[in-house]
């Protein structure tokens, strides 16, 4: 039962067990072998010497050979003992060399099917497949590796089977929703250089450079001319370095999204991306928990935005961001992003309500306090070590406080739509979260001592989206106390009416006879 010549149509995939691709044996053996070889390189030489001393040369060679045989043997055994099978309503995996595990995953519970390929895997024509469900902290099924055609067939077949039984006859028609252009890719590289690094670096430089300068004070006086040049060139070089690092990061990010294509069918979205390492994944529309429109300062200034989709699954496309949020649009004009957002979740027209203006006063006080504390720290440093400038200079940063507070306030807001609640936060990276009412898990309002002083409160809307695990919930920050209470109650009330409406719609359509899209998973 080999995997190589794979001309299987849809029907041949179900009802029989498959093994992994035979090439996965050498690949896995080499992968593990390389890890082992690294360990041997580090600890190997002395250890080998010791073993050789005690055992003699021949037994050592035998031992080494045994080790190789064990690794290869395990690889072969893993392959021989690994079987997967797609049935009408489950995906079964029987695996394990010593401890056997038989796992059945109901197809309806599958959140995403992700395929990834690195360069070597692409040369070999094999791919890694992951199936995500809402439970667990890792992928529920992890196929290392199957042929590319099989991977695609599996992806297609699983989404076909997990859809309605009535529709299974007709093939799904996909239309391309978004394809990244070269211009957008270039902009992505430019825009995704992480700007937040820059102020941090500057802060670091301004804190440590002066004391460093003070240390070399004497030499600086001697070589005054050079120091002037240095004073000008130095920062320029530093600045160039910062920009270069940022751009490099952006370019790396852009290669991840090279050739990004998003296609949509009636029930799911499918994306492909990557220059060196290729990813493709599915996002069933019925599993979407929330949408996030993200614009950082640069993108916003250029009129661009990105769109992310959160489902309840775990690891997502393996892009290292953690949480299962797939990028639906890496970067496009704001209008285009909003347009696509609307096709995924019909949000309609919404008007954001900013926090009351007294919230802005709160940020003024907060930032002024930060400046004051920093000045205090500098004063302390000055008193103990001595600084080349008076610490009171730091108070100059107070000039930046009012505009900073205004910007923070300006970018905040919330909106209550007909079927969605939206929140917006952040100046450096502005995130607009769109949560359908029927995805709301809990709603909470909280008010700190400082918020209560100004009769403000924060409303947190929790969903089952994986990103909320890292505290990335939709939050309406610093709204009026009364508004917060209203919003909290309205969101949960709308949850019920929204659920009811959905059930009624379903009843009418008879589209999902036993589906349970309301339960969140």
């Amino acid at each position: 039962m080999t995997d190589g010549g794979d001309r299987s149509g849809g029907e041949r995939l179900t009802g029989r067990a498959f093994r992994l691709h035979p090439l996965s044996i050498p690949y896995r053996v080499l992968e593990q072998g390389l890890g082992l070889a690294f360990v041997l390189l580090v600890f190997g030489a002395p250890a080998t010497g010791m073993v050789q001393n005690t055992l003699g040369t021949t037994p050592t060679a035998v031992l080494g050979a045994a080790l190789v045989v064990a690794v290869v043997g395990y690889g072969v055994a893993y392959y021989r003992r690994f079987e997967y099978e797609l049935t009408a309503d489950t995906f079964d995996i029987r695996s394990g060399v010593f401890a056997r595990r038989i796992r059945e995953i109901p197809l309806r519970r599958i959140q995403n099917v992700d395929i990834s390929q690195n360069v070597v895997q692409r040369a070999l024509g094999i791919a890694e497949v992951r199936l995500e469900t809402a439970g667990g902290s890792t992928s529920e099924a992890h196929l290392k590796f199957v042929s590319v055609t099989r991977a695609n067939a599996l992806q297609r077949e699983i989404s076909r089977l997990s859809r309605d039984d009535e529709e299974t006859g007709e093939p799904e028609t996909f239309e391309t929703l978004f394809e990244i252009s070269d211009r957008e890719l270039g902009l992505l590289a430019l825009v995704s250089m992480d700007l937040r690094i820059v102020p941090a670096l500057f802060l670091g430089a301004s804190l440590f450079a002066p004391s460093a300068a003070a240390m070399f004070d004497a030499e600086m006086l001697l070589y005054g001319y050079q120091s002037v040049v240095g004073a000008i060139v130095g920062p320029l070089v530093t600045l160039a370095g910062i920009v270069a690092i940022g751009l490099l990061y952006g370019v790396l990010n852009a290669t991840l999204y090279y050739g990004f294509t998003l296609r949509g069918a009636a029930d799911e979205l499918r994306y492909e991306r990557g220059l060196l390492q290729k990813y493709s994944g599915t996002i069933p529309l019925s599993k979407i928990q929330s949408l996030t429109v993200e614009e950082n300062v640069l993108a916003r200034a250029l009129g661009y935005a990105s769109l992310e989709i959160e489902t309840a699954g775990q690891s997502g496309g393996g892009d290292g961001s953690g949480g299962s949020s797939q990028s639906a649009i890496p970067l496009a004009t704001r209008e285009r992003v909003l347009e696509l957002t609307n096709t995924i979740e019909p949000v309609g027209d919404v008007a954001f309500e900013r926090p009351p203006k007294r919230a802005r006063l709160r940020y003024v006080v907060r930032y002024a306090a930060v400046v004051a504390v920093l000045t205090g720290l500098l004063w302390g440093v000055d008193a103990v070590l001595g600084l080349p400038f008076t610490p009171w200079l730091a108070l100059g940063a107070l000039v930046a406080v009012p505009p900073a507070a205004h910007l923070k306030w300006r970018n905040r807001g919330y909106a209550v739509g007909e079927n969605h609640v939206l929140t917006r936060n952040g100046f450096w990276v502005r995130q607009t979260k769109i949560v359908p009412y029927y995805r709301v898990q809990t709603a909470a309002s909280s008010a700190t001592v400082f918020q209560r002083r100004r009769r403000l409160a924060t409303v947190t809307i929790d969903t089952a989206g994986a990103r909320s695990l890292v505290g990335n919930d939709a939050k309406a920050v610093d709204v009026d106390e009364a508004t917060a209470a209203e919003l909290r109650e309205a969101v949960t009330a709308n949850l019920y009416s929204s659920l009811r409406r959905r059930r009624q719609d379903e009843r009418r359509d008879r589209r999902r006879p036993y589906g349970d899209p309301a339960s969140g998973e």
Binding site: A351, T442, A443, A444, S446, T492, Y496, R500
Partner: protein, 232 residues
Amino acid sequence: MTVSDRNDERVADDERSTAETASTPGDREPGADDDREGKSQQDDHQEPTSQESASVAAAAGIDDDVLDTPRELASIVRLQWIIRSTVGAVVLGAIVAGITLALGVATDVVPAGRSTAVTAGGGAFLLSAIYGVLKAVLLYRSWEYVVRADSLYLRRGVFTHVRTVVPYVRVQHIDTTRSPLERLLGLSTLVVYTAGSRGADVTIPGLTPERASTLQTRLERLAIESEEADAV
């Protein structure tokens, strides 16, 4: 989809109006006055959905006198919290005493000797213990939970006031747990799990075991009923 900002430029009027509404007692706690007004008040608190069909609570056959009545925790929970914070205070005091002792030996910043260390440690312990007691008392006062028609409502918090609404449809399962200290004091903790990430936030401490199990069965019934009720 279009996105606009309501208070973009001409904010002045808007701002005035929100400020005014805020000065009225807007954040009135649902069910807070229900002891007095009973059911007439309850209608106000019903979510708009109640017009469309009967509430979850009605379907689950929960008595009206249970609904919307704010409940406090058992008063002995203060003792539980005080014991816990006192243990923390002892540890803190010991650490401070140790550090002072070490500093006294190594440097001239503090005078060496056991008495300084004991004073510092004792002071730290006292301060932290008093803080713990005060916080326990205030936290107990702030705690309140309400079994409402469609959702469980919790409010608590000393420095940060938190109010959580848990719709019954979202309840996955409900635990009651009893730590050794709780068993000693005759207390129990109820944990309500949702699929959301803040499952751990929905915890009601300081319940008597009977009350915890009553509440558990009641919430289970409401959770099951909520699925059925909105299927109609």
